[in-house]
Symmetry: C2
Subunit: 629 residues, 2 copies
């Protein structure tokens, strides 16, 4: 069987002949960017053949126009017994950067909330058995717990019972008991350990993003964050977005694999925070997970198929409490695991968690907009009277997908562009200051804003074909803009942006803006009336508000009203973890939200069509942009 080695990781795997390199990478645990999920349509899964040969999977010949040695991993199979390929490194994959951000974004805000977690630890002394009456260990334990306010219908799971006899006798009956829901029956014992260990009461808050997973280790009685770690979601090799993951789950064994991959990532991160926080994983006695509806289904191992099919019905939305053992999470096996409740198939627990980081759930006079922009955009508009949410499919343009030279924000991605107004010549900045390999989502927004402000494109996104700008090249009906020449680029090809690419970005921004506009109209609100616009999520961190307004992605309101709230899904999970009140607030908020399915809304297409211009068909909506152009 051919042996395939992936560089720079050095990971190797033997695969049966006929297995494509994408699948080989997946099995070897090597992440390759593939927005289309390996269907051979996006052309993004480029790898470089370092030694050995490859053949096209379909038996065809490799396009001679392609740069030599650069192939799409999903379309080729090994052609020699030994094959070594190089995979472009995904930026930030080592996790350090994510972790740092996550800490700084969450640390302060959390400390304002009084700690009141659903688990409690009490140090008690259980009487040793006396000779005259048979009082089983369980009976004596419950009697001592009753004094602490736990009712007698308290449940003790099998895993606590198994070694209870020895634990109750190790330190003369002095034990620390961790219980959940001490006030509300049925109260459950999570752990019984010898001695007084009440200072060691820990939990984890987890954000399960489609792309990134972050885990935060928290001391439950002080709210102190002991450690945070983040990593790419191990499911990435099975598809980049939720739809490709759902498709993957449909394969034989696919659902189990996806579940295992996300669990493995979480457990690896738990291992890291436990080492950094100097605690044992068994001391984690509570966990809160927030993810979109598909991520939650996959974490629980629930078939997600009907989330993808009309009428887009999930198996569950509401917050359910399972045990860590049911989920295979590396912690105390009895630790209750709470999944943040979702509102619809495309507005999940990450959003209801994120809202806790805003003023939206609190009754007040203000009116707010919450935006989480990515492949899927999730939006919430709310004030004291109404709370409305919807999701819109922006497509992968913001993550570099659907753009001919697009890529994720990895090393070599163009993330900034400045255009000389006179010549139209570009100056570019790349991630890692490397030779350019492509352009990422925030780079595209910056580029289109520049092209538009400097007059290289018109409001419809069409290039100036007058010949005034030499960076604009026309070939037949198509025109394109050259960002880097074949000599400047790292791929052996010039890096260009075509009108089709610009059109894809315009469609993406129109999807988001029109969804916002539709919700505002339904609630009879105006953008000007908003007190605050919260921008959440990883993409938001790289978003230049000014340029986003220029292209018409964000509404043209006072810049001070925009607030970037970081990883609000993680921060919200933290809040739910340490505070029962926050948990109730989240549930009330989820129940109160009206979920709009845009695919069923007749007004959405009108709004969307009107937004397919730069910045918008209705120029009045973007006064500040009009002034600048």
């Amino acid at each position: 069987m051919p042996l395939v080695t992936f560089q720079p990781s050095g990971k190797s795997i033997e695969v049966a002949s006929g297995i494509d390199l994408m699948e080989a990478a997946r099995r070897a645990g090597v992440a390759i960017d593939a927005p289309c999920g390996g269907k051979g349509t996006c052309g993004k899964c480029l790898v470089k053949v370092l030694s050995g040969t490859v053949q096209r999977r379909d038996g065809g010949v490799i396009d001679p126009n392609d740069p030599p040695g650069i192939v799409t991993a999903c379309t080729v199979v090994p052609g020699s017994e030994a094959l070594t390929v190089e995979v472009p490194k995904l930026s930030g994959y080592d996790g350090g950067k994510f972790a740092e951000d996550a800490v700084s974004e969450t640390a302060q805000s959390g400390l304002l909330i009084p700690c009141d977690p659903i688990t409690r630890q009490v140090a008690i002394t259980v009487n040793q058995p006396a000779g005259d009456a048979v009082e089983p260990d369980v009976y004596r334990l419950l009697k001592s717990l009753a004094v602490q306010g736990c009712n007698t219908s308290t449940e003790i799971p099998l895993f606590v019972l198994r070694n209870l006899a020895a634990v109750l006798r190790e330190d003369d009956g002095r034990v620390t008991v961790t219980v959940s829901h001490p006030e509300n029956p049925p109260c459950t014992v999570i752990d019984v350990t010898p001695g007084d260990r009440t200072s060691r009461h820990f939990g984890i808050a987890v954000d399960i993003g489609t792309t990134t997973i972050a885990v935060q280790l928290v001391h439950l009685d002080t709210g102190a964050i002991k450690a945070t770690a983040a990593e790419y979601n191990g499911q990435i090799p099975c598809g980049l977005d939720v739809i490709s993951r759902i498709n993957y789950a449909h394969r034989r064994g696919g659902l189990e694999e996806l579940k295992q991959r996300v669990t493995d990532t979480i457990n690896r991160l738990i291992g890291i925070v436990c080492i950094n926080g100097a605690i044992g994983a068994g001391e984690i006695c509570e966990a809160v997970f927030s993810g979109n509806t598909t991520m939650t289904h996959l974490l629980l191992g629930i078939n997600p198929e009907y989330i993808r099919l009309h009428p887009y019905t999930p198996t569950l939305l509401d917050a359910k409490s399972f045990s860590a053992r049911d989920l295979g999470i590396n912690s105390n096996p009895n630790a209750p695991v709470y999944c943040s409740p979702g509102v619809g198939s495309y507005v999940g627990g990450d959003i209801t968690a994120g809202l806790l980081c805003t003023e939206i759930p609190r009754s007040g006079e203000g009116t707010y907009l919450f935006l989480d922009i990515g492949t899927n955009g999730e939006l919430v508009v709310g004030n004291r009277d109404a709370l409305m949410t919807c999701a819109c499919s922006a497509g992968p343009a913001f993550e570099g997908g659907g753009i001919s030279c697009g890529m994720r924000a990895a090393t070599g991605a163009i993330e900034g562009v400045e255009i000389d107004a006179a010549t139209g010549k570009p100056r570019v900045w790349t991630v890692g200051s490397a030779a350019p390999r492509g352009i990422c989502g925030s780079g595209m927004i910056g580029l289109v804003a520049e092209l538009f402000l400097k007059g290289l494109i018109d409001p419809a996104g069409k290039f100036d074909r007058s010949g005034k700008f030499e960076s604009i090249q026309v070939a037949g009906r198509q025109a394109y803009f050259e960002l880097a020449t074949v000599h400047q680029s790292d791929t052996g090809k010039a890096i260009t942006v075509s009108e089709t690419d610009i059109d894809n970005l315009i469609r993406a921004k129109a999807a988001i803006y029109s969804a916002c506009a539709l919700m505002m109209r339904q609630l009879e609100l105006s953008f000007e009336g908003l007190d605050c616009i919260y921008i959440a999520g990883g993409f938001g961190r790289f978003l230049d508000i000014e340029k986003a307004i220029v292209i018409g992605l964000l509404p043209d309101v006072a810049r001070a009203k925009f607030h970037y709230i970081g990883n609000s899904s993680l921060n919200g999970s933290y809040r739910v973890l340490i505070s029962r009140k926050q948990r109730m607030l989240q549930q009330a908020c989820a129940r109160a939200m009206t979920y709009i399915d845009l695919s069923n809304d007749s007004g959405y297409m009108d709004q969307y069509t009107a937004a397919l211009f730069l910045p918008h068909t209705d120029k009045q909506l973007f006064p500040s942009v009009n002034i600048r152009r």
Copy 2:
């Protein structure tokens, strides 16, 4: 490493040198009779060397008086690279006999109880999702269940949720839902399957004996017994009685091994009843287990150590409901598993289940005695006013232990003896009509009764040394009775019974009788006043009531008052399985019982000492025996 082969099974295992044959047999899964648990004291674990050589584990020489090639497995190690030994077959090990008995004993009595199990199956139609509102699968299922009387706090375990989406769509929403406790919250969904499968509602009743395990497959809506199977408890190689099992659990990994062994036996039996009953194991949605307190702890994987140590405290006694998955039982993973409640460390769920097969739990005018005789005797005395129970340690004499030529009721065991009153010569019957190899417990009772009635022994169990009976041989201070000559026996040795052996049997019967007498006195009852004496358990089947009265094991009352109730632990489990009323009755009964710890009772030793005669010191108690002798 030496390779040891056990015949007639042909099972082989390689073991490190120094591992004794008892341990090798345990690892190979070969059962060898060893009442002392492999301590080298009982001399019962005889095996025959067919080829190869053995050495004594302690380096000593093998006793030249021993018959050649016959060794005790726990004292020898392989002396050659290949070794083949023959293990005597345990009678009934193939299971057929047990199964037959179990069916016939239980079938009729059960059918009188109306079926009202804790699980219920309903066929419902769950609406398909409509386009306008997001109603998750779980929500629609619960709404349909609410119509059937299940409240909305119904819990749905993860294992049902995982494939719920497909199940709800396979047959247009027509599903069969199995729920437990449909009336009492929290009601739990056990299974959801497509279509109407309400005719397939099954459960299992299980008796977990220290020696034998029996599983009965039951249709829960009709009470029909679909199949029954029994087998020796797979824990036997780890020790014959509960104390040696508890000692074994103390080894590293011993508890896990014991748990695995009992689970394996149960799962093997479930496999058999499922094939015979033509159902899938996944269709089993409820299980009831009854065993003594140690067996229950080991099944649940709970450390049993303190059951053995003063003051003999179990971890739990009361009935707890776990899931089959928690226990590793091969059935629907969500099936609730109920363990019959125990009363004390030595009166367990097998007794509270057994009582359901008697009049004792029902209010009435009668007074009853319940006796389960084995290595441990469990006793219950009760009438409308009081219910008292205790356990006494009879020692292994009733199972052939502690008797020089004793053995279990396996092929070649002497089970019946008739003595010629004139010559004292014995005529013997053996199990399987084979050449005699030893004498089993019921054989010993019959022998001692004969010896006593025919005047060969006196009330103290001492032989007539007048020389009148040539079958009595005197050697120094010891005398013994020859049951089979060296030529008649199959072991190469004569089969004899010594005064020490008789003394051991007298101690065993005295332990049982005196415990009964003590309880009767404490309740101010007389044996004559009893309406019924129930004899339960496997040993009871072979017990000759008349002979048991002659030796003073059972009280001398009208013979018609004795009722053998068979495997009442299995029968009681069946009742609890099909009827919630029976379950409540059992729990009430367990709560109502007063548990007497004989080791703490000052009067017990007096009663015991008085019973160390044939039939008793107080001859008045046994009038019918006096007449016969």
